[in-house]
């Protein structure tokens, strides 16, 4: 019907306001619900939120911490988003990032001190990306050629990745009586931003942030300006239409998933090359899973992922600070609420709406 076209708001308002409305409403409602929860816990919501706000924006150090946490989340969020655009749900960013961290640390250690930083840093980054891509390749091939659903593959492969990574660590790489490797050579490390911007003193914020922002821009270009990216998005929206258009569907699926794994792999650099300088058991701290939330809140668009990652990074940071007032799980509840609300409030056509449709599929098939 003609009327369908007129439902879209006109002009600039429609172009920018509509995609922002859902995520912003989700955040607002989640914070409101959180306030009620805080009151139920016997605390003053105003105090808690003021403390939270202060922890995030009150000092350059605090904000540096937020940016540091957001850096990893941009990486995993971007990884999940790229896969989403190809119609794939990469639940395996966690495992891909984990093994990528191990691979990059091992590679850096093998590289030794003799290599100049300008060569060592990119090589180690590449090693991590490659490892992440390889881990993602297995479920990608299974999906493309045998039709095995990638959600199941990637979830299960996470456990394999954790077990394999920890086994290699303990058997080969761990320092005595520890669960981490030796420190990687200085040449393979990413410089701290505090060396350039003294205000961030003490915060582990490092060059990985700029790297992730650059990757966001590159992914946006690749997806929306190249022929390859066009084909990937076409596959993601309609495999059948892509197939009859002559697009090599399987190949694009595999490539997009490998790229997703590589991006998840680079997310490890923030910790391994930029913060602790070693690989440690459990270093991912669920960043891979939070990447799914970041991608959804950011509408799976690189430009949306950065603010979404900042939001989740801020909540992560805030959890430490408000621990004295309310249990730090309060922050987990806020994050979960945001995601639920993003999915509930999604407009048809959004990726979050696809997730909603998946969840409701049984019901819709019958009605």
């Amino acid at each position: 019907m003609k009327a369908r076209g007129t439902r879209v708001l006109p002009g600039i308002l429609g172009r920018w306001a509509r995609p922002l409305a859902g995520p912003l409403a989700a955040i607002g409602l989640a914070l409101a619900a959180g306030a009620i929860l805080v009151a139920v816990l016997g605390q003053d919501p105003v105090t808690v939120y003021t403390t939270l706000f202060d922890a995030i924006f009150g000092s350059a150090y605090g904000f540096g911490q937020v940016l540091f946490k957001a850096t990893t989340l941009i990486g995993t969020g971007l990884a999940v988003a790229v896969a989403f655009r190809a119609g794939l749900f990469n639940i395996g960013a966690e495992g891909q990032m984990y093994l990528a961290g191990l691979a990059s640390a091992a590679f850096a250690l093998a590289l030794g001190d003799g290599c100049p930083a300008l060569v060592a840093v990119p090589l180690v980054l590449l090693a991590g990306a490659l490892a992440g891509a390889l881990v993602a390749l297995l479920p990608a091939l299974l999906r493309a050629f045998l039709g095995v659903h990638e959600v199941i593959n990637t979830i299960m492969l996470n456990f394999v990745a954790f077990a394999l990574g920890s086994w290699i660590l303990v058997e080969k790489l761990a320092l005595f009586e520890s669960v981490h490797t030796a420190e990687i050579p200085a040449a393979a490390r990413l410089p701290r931003l505090e060396t350039m911007l003294p205000a961030f003193r003490g915060a582990p914020l490092n060059l990985a942030l700029l790297l992730q922002l650059l990757l966001c821009a590159l992914c946006a270009l690749a997806l929306w300006r190249t022929r390859w990216g066009y084909e990937v998005r076409a596959v993601g929206l309609s495999e059948s239409a892509a197939r009859s258009a002559g697009i090599p569907v399987r190949r694009r699926l595999v490539e997009a998933m490998a790229l997703s794994g590589a991006l998840a792999g680079t997310a490890a650099a923030n910790f391994v090359q930029g913060y602790k300088y070693y690989f440690e058991e459990g270093f991912t701290a669920e960043a891979g899973f939070k990447g799914i939330a970041v991608a959804l809140l950011g509408s799976t668009h690189p430009a949306g992922i950065v603010p979404a990652a900042l939001f989740f990074g801020a909540l992560d940071r805030g959890g430490f600070v408000i621990n004295g007032l309310v249990p730090k799980e309060f922050v987990d509840i806020l994050q979960a609420l945001v995601i639920l609300l993003v999915i509930v409030l999604a407009r048809p056509g959004d990726v979050a709406a696809q997730v909603r449709r998946l969840a409701l599929r049984r019901r819709e098939e019958v009605s």
Partner: protein, 525 residues
């Protein structure tokens, strides 16, 4: 009792920016079949949704069997005896027929589902209205025509006395449509009332008692079917004088001029036998389960339209997909310009001049969620003039899309909107325009005008004839016999995955093709 079975009084309904219904009044007497016709976007669907209580009108009232519908919504419409048979079926494929029919109001014995009672109910209702159907068949195993009967049974079992059918024949083969009309006549004999929405004017004339024409949300004409003729209907629908395109080569139709395809065609074009063969299939066999090709051989020359007729599900889809490289070929060969392409992929075949307008445009032809301008390059995204090497130039994509939207009169011409906002007819213009724009040597068209309004059909038919006149080979697969007869130079009938017969357009009579389509034998002519 003179109360109309369904009465719409002065209905107006606006959406932001559009008046979908503008003071529409319509009264259908009991025991009649009333047809509602009009172009896509004329307001038919809105009117039906108002009648069914899905939409609340801005003004006016709906009366069903004399009772005011008011604000009760769909539930009240059903309670008053209205039933809607949607164009897209809402059935559970894994359940049996009788289970589908009673779904939502199952007969019970105590706490248990009374399957015997449900079966009996379905069997009795089916018998009463002459619906041939096996209550125990699984819906997923049924053909389209039978599934439609299940939908009709569903509303009848719920006590509907007034039935609205939205484009019921769009998915049916001619013989199935005849069966449907027999059912509708039986319904009317049982004092039921039918409101029929259709694009197919000759069917409308054949089955209904009266016709109402909607244009731009208003009733522009209303007549008893006995006084209606195709010319008057077409004029009312399109809103201007229409004329038939000539099939003669080089007759010079003015581009963009609207015309109505003739239902009978006397003029016959003599195929120029010296044009080279563009497509040759030799004993083609495919692996699919249901409608696999058994052994299909055919040839299409440049400047020729080969019409492939047949009841749907007899190998048409398999043939199209085999030609495109989507359906595995287990025997035989496909040649394009004398080159064996049987083992080549879809992209390679497209690069060799194959263009494809699929029957299911929403699944294969375009991507509804993708922008209109991006859809305008689907399948052509590798063409060098759209950018350089790896990059697509947004400017050139926009220019390409703009030309296409203008030349094929796609409305609304809003390149940055998702293709989903276009009506079906405009989506089809987009797809056909894109595929023809590649200057293909072989144009593979599957149901190119399905669900398209009458003005759009004429427009698309003219473009197809133009392509033929420009020397392209056209393979036209259609379930609409009139379309085949109006356009094709030669006709081939598929039955059960085999070529049941071929003949020139001059020799193709509906009777002869009908015989082939239903598997009948004929002494070889």
């Amino acid at each position: 009792m003179n109360t109309p079975a369904l009465e719409l009084r002065d209905i107006s309904k606006s959406f932001p920016g559009t008046v979908a219904n503008d003071h529409v009044s319509l009264a259908v007497p009991r025991g009649r079949i009333h047809a509602l016709v009009g172009e896509n976007g004329a307001g038919k669907t809105t009117l039906m949704r108002v009648a069914y209580g899905e939409l609340r009108p801005d003004a006016g009232e709906v009366r069903i069997q004399g009772e005011l519908l008011g604000r009760g919504g769909t539930a009240r419409a059903i309670a008053l005896g209205l039933g809607m048979v949607h164009q897209h079926f809402m059935l559970v494929p894994t359940l049996r027929v009788f289970e589908n029919v009673v779904l939502g109001h199952e007969p019970r014995r105590g706490a248990w589902f009374d399957a015997a009672a449900a079966r009996r109910l379905v069997r009795e209702t089916a018998a009463r209205f002459g619906l041939a159907i096996d209550p125990d068949a699984r819906v997923g195993d049924l053909g389209v025509g039978e599934q439609q009967r299940v939908e009709i049974l569903k509303v009848l079992v719920r006590g509907a006395r007034v039935l609205i059918l939205d484009e019921p024949t769009a998915v049916l083969a001619p013989s199935e449509a005849e069966d449907l009309f027999a059912i509708l006549r039986q319904l009317v004999r049982e004092q039921h009332t039918v409101l029929l929405i259709s694009h197919r004017l000759h069917e409308v004339l054949a089955v209904s008692d009266a016709v109402t024409v909607l244009r731009d949300g208003k009733v522009v004409d209303e007549m008893p079917a006995a006084q209606a003729d195709l010319g008057r209907l077409a004029r009312a629908i399109v809103g201007r004088e229409v004329r038939a395109p000539s099939r003669a080569r080089g007759s010079g139709h003015e581009p963009g001029g609207r015309a109505v395809a003739p239902l009978q065609e006397t003029e016959v074009r003599v195929t120029d036998r010296r044009e080279p063969v563009v497509l040759r299939c030799d004993s083609l066999r495919t692996a699919g389960k249901r409608e696999a090709l058994q052994s299909v051989s055919l040839e299409v020359r440049g400047g020729e339209i080969l019409g492939v007729a047949g009841v749907e599900g007899n190998g048409q889809q398999a043939l199209a997909h085999a030609l495109l490289g989507l359906e595995p070929v287990v025997g035989g060969s496909i040649e394009l310009h004398g080159e064996d392409v049987t083992r080549l992929g879809t992209a390679a075949r497209r690069a060799r001049g194959l263009a494809y307008v699929p029957g299911d445009r929403l699944r294969e032809g375009l991507i509804p969620a993708l922008r209109i301008d991006e859809n305008a390059i689907l399948g052509r995204q590798r063409e060098p003039d759209l950018g350089n090497r790896a990059w697509l130039s947004p400017r050139r994509v926009a220019a390409r899309a703009e030309t296409l939207l203008r030349r094929f009169e796609v409305r609304p011409a809003m390149p940055s909107f998702p293709a989903a906002v276009l009506s079906g007819g405009n989506q089809q213009r987009l797809v056909v325009g894109r595929e023809m724009g590649r200057e293909p040597s072989l144009l593979l068209l599957v149901q190119p005008t399905r669900g398209v309004d009458i003005g759009g059909i004429a427009f698309l038919h003219e473009r197809i004839l133009e392509a033929r006149d420009a020397g392209r080979a056209v393979l036209l697969v259609s379930a609409d016999l009139n379309e085949i007869l109006a356009l094709a130079d030669r006709v081939l009938v598929l039955y059960s995955g085999r070529v049941a017969g071929t003949c020139s357009a001059a020799e193709a009579t509906p009777a002869r093709l009908g015989l082939w389509m239903t598997g009948g034998k004929e002494s070889e002519a």
